[in-house]
């Protein structure tokens, strides 16, 4: 099962290494990891996506909680939640293709954020599935570069993950 876990962690040097090291040392699978400081600069928020059966996920959650720097943790997959990921795609946009690519971007509500005579850079936000679908729709031979942020997640409803 795929799980998306949010972690509030002390914004200290080494904190990220502790999390990454934990996954490596215990052989847990890690699909993506994003991290940035929160509105409280002493805290960072991490979103990580992992796979595993119930027993492994239970261990991952416990082992993360056990890290001294981890302040709070929520397995978003336990309840209704929203996921968003940001992607930027650089594509070859030569004469014959420019219109087609612009149309595709519009269909996916993507923005073209950089334009040259021969290329576009397209920005797209959404659930990972939507980003995948966009990449499927773009002809493979025009793709120059793809960069994805990995998913961010937040629970639905009025309650927040805070101190």
């Amino acid at each position: 099962m795929r799980h998306i876990i949010s972690v509030l962690i002390e914004n200290e040097s080494g904190a990220l290494a502790r999390v990454a090291g934990l996954f490596a040392a215990r052989g847990y699978n890690i699909e993506s990891l994003t991290v940035a400081p929160t509105e409280d600069p002493t805290l960072s928020r991490m979103t990580l996506v992992t796979h595993g059966d119930e027993r492994i996920i239970e261990q991952i959650v416990k082992q993360l909680n056990k890290l001294i720097d981890v302040v709070k943790l929520l397995d978003l997959s336990d309840g209704p939640h929203i996921e968003r990921e940001l992607m930027m795609v650089k594509v070859k946009a030569e004469k014959g293709m420019r219109e087609e690519l612009k149309r595709l971007a519009d269909i996916f509500r993507a923005n073209i954020i950089d334009v040259t005579a021969t290329s576009y850079t397209i920005e797209l936000t959404g659930h990972g599935h939507k980003l995948d679908a966009f990449l499927e729709a773009v002809p493979e031979e025009v793709i120059i570069e793809v960069v994805r942020s990995g998913p961010l997640g937040i629970s639905r409803g009025p309650k927040g993950l805070g101190l």
Binding site: R55, Q59, K62, I68, V70, L163
Partner: protein, 577 residues
């Protein structure tokens, strides 16, 4: 009060109540050593290798329950300490290790004697810190002790760059009175509903077993455990790390369980319908093959670390909390219960257990020609029975023989490396114990391979006049390795013969100690008496034992509790009958 960083380090340790530091100097910690020199409250013990500093601090912690402290320099000093840190980590021992580091502007530049010790130790410490400002020293040290000693204990490392301890930079000092951390809040009491659920199962159980481990020792909960055993009358078994929690002489004690556990303990586990696990972590040396572990039992598990629960074995009633308050509450709820455990079922259960016990699985063939290692431990027990006695051990067959044959009556008396199984642990650990209890008798049982891993500490023992009794069960082999090679590699003894041994008695003497060599079983008791009679001297007893004795019973790795190998001596006897 204005102090330099180095003085703050020392003063903070004093304010923390530290009595001893085991350490070794070097460039990066010179300021700290200078501050140590100018005070009288803390005693620094100079070891001969940093590994020994950590083991000695660890031994002190295991015997006293107080955190052990070690101080080493950067680079090689720090890396030498890693084995001792990992040893403490695996057995959840409270320890604070201070390492010197190159000055902050040099960090990351491959400076002389620089290693990233916080990076190296991250997977084998409870937590570590790199101090970057002199203002942070006092609070970091307070946090380190708080983390090391609370919750599930463990080693904490503090890396201190040299410039942070600069004697010329002085700042006001105050030691934090109380530490509270938003990210670390260890649990104390168990949830009352879970405790009631556990008691529900206990009063219904027909074939219960209490299985306890290092957590009961670490949590100083032997009295509470004894009460639980008393009011339930349930059989109790200990892991290697739990020995001494219930007196070995108690009828309800089944001995150690696991790979080299007793027949009665392992069979009781296998046939049980309720396992009450307390401060034990279902290690693979205990469970054997998980698929056939306790096939008929429901499991209650008390542990302060949620991550220990349902890690290897799925648990029915988890109770997260410190053993002491949990056991207290459990006993209270049990006493208030109208329904009591079924006395008839329990009597029938005991009858089966007595049947297994009657096998006397630890029996071995006695000899008047060669000293049997088991006999050496039995005699040791006899000679030291009335003493205020601590026994440390190295790793190997001698460790297992000691665990099987020395009847520990009290907690914290059996000091050995279980989780990491570190050869070289025994001697330095004994130094830590002796330092903590100068009047007590402290012995170390070891093997000729293990002792050579930290033998340089004989010098430390003579410098500080530590009257240890070292009992070397010398079989000329890495016995534990040889045993596996005999049983699983058709007797191909690949590199397990310990050749070119020194004359240990003479070696001990060159360090200023008393050396003895004992070969004849008839001499052993008198030799022990003589050695233990020498109150102020370290006596190194080189006891030549049967070279090819094996440890039995034995459960092969990956087999179940009911698939024990018994000693061929017992099997032969059974065939005769």
């Amino acid at each position: 009060m204005e102090l330099s960083g180095a003085e703050i380090v020392v003063q903070a340790l004093i304010d923390e109540g530290v009595e001893y530091i085991w350490g070794y100097p070097g460039g990066a910690v010179l300021h700290i050593y200078d501050a140590l020199f100018q005070q009288k409250k803390i005693r620094h013990i100079l070891v001969r290798h940093e590994q020994a500093a950590t083991h000695a601090a660890d031994g002190y912690a295991r015997a006293t329950g107080k955190p052990g402290v070690a101080l080493v320099t950067s680079g090689p000093g720090a890396t030498n300490a890693v084995t001792g840190i990992a040893t403490a980590y695996m057995d959840s021992i409270p320890m604070v290790v201070l390492t010197g580091q190159v000055p902050t502007p040099f960090i990351g530049s491959d400076a002389f004697q620089e290693v990233d010790i916080t990076g190296i130790t991250r997977p084998c410490v409870k937590h570590n810190f790199l101090i970057k400002r002199v203002e942070d020293i006092a609070e970091t040290i307070a946090k380190a002790f708080y983390i090391a000693t609370t919750g599930r204990p463990g080693p904490v490392l503090i890396d201190i760059p040299k410039d942070v301890t600069d004697p010329n930079v002085r700042i006001p000092y105050e030691y934090p009175k109380k530490i509270s951390m938003r990210s670390y809040k260890p649990v104390e009491k168990g949830h009352p509903r879970q405790i009631r659920k556990a008691v529900d199962l206990m009063v219904k159980a027909r074939r219960p077993v209490i299985y306890t481990g290092g957590g009961v020792i670490l949590g100083d909960a032997s009295d509470e455990l004894r009460q639980l055993v008393e009011i339930t009358g349930f059989p109790v078994t200990h892991t290697l790390m739990g020995l001494g929690a219930v007196p070995a002489s108690d009828k309800r004690f089944l001995g150690m369980l696991g790979m080299h556990g007793t027949y009665e303990a392992n069979m009781a586990m296998h046939e049980s319908d309720l396992i009450i696990a307390i401060g034990a972590r279902f290690d693979d040396r205990v469970t054997g093959k998980l698929a056939s572990f306790c096939p008929h039992a429901k499991i209650i598990h008390v542990d302060v670390d949620p991550a220990s629960i349902s890690k290897n074995v799925k648990v029915d009633v988890p109770i997260v909390g410190q053993v002491k308050p949990v056991l207290r509450d459990m006993v209270k709820v049990l006493k208030e219960r109208k329904t009591k455990p079924d006395a008839k079922a329990l009597a029938a259960w005991w009858e089966r257990i007595e049947g297994w016990r009657a096998v006397e699985c630890l029996r071995y063939p006695q000899s008047d020609k060669v000293i049997k290692p088991q006999y050496a431990i039995e005699l040791l027990a006899k000679v030291t029975k009335r003493r205020d006695f601590y026994l440390t051990s190295d790793v190997g067959q001698h460790q297992m023989f000691a665990a099987q044959f020395y009847p520990f009556e009290k907690p914290r008396r059996w000091i050995n490396s279980g989780g990491l199984g570190t050869m070289g642990f025994g001697l330095p650990a004994a130094m830590g114990v002796q330092q903590a209890f100068p009047k007590a008798t402290v012995a170390c049982v070891t093997g000729e391979a293990s002792i050579q891993m930290c033998i340089q500490e004989l010098a430390t023992c003579s410098q500080y006049k530590l009257p240890l009794k070292i009992i070397l069960l010398n079989n000329g082999y890495m016995g534990m390795v040889r045993q596996w090679q005999e049983l699983f590699y058709e007797g191909r003894y690949s590199h397990s013969y310990v050749d070119a041994l020194p004359d240990f008695a003479a070696l001990a003497e060159t360090y200023g100690h008393v050396g003895m060599t004992i070969e004849d079983p008839a001499d052993l008791e008198a030799a022990y008496k003589e050695a233990f009679g020498m109150k102020d001297r370290l006596v190194f007893m080189n006891v030549l034992v049967d070279p090819e004795e094996n440890v039995y019973p034995m459960i092969e790795a990956g087999k179940g509790h009911h698939e024990m190998h018994m000693s061929p001596y017992l099997t032969a006897e059974r065939e005769l009958a």
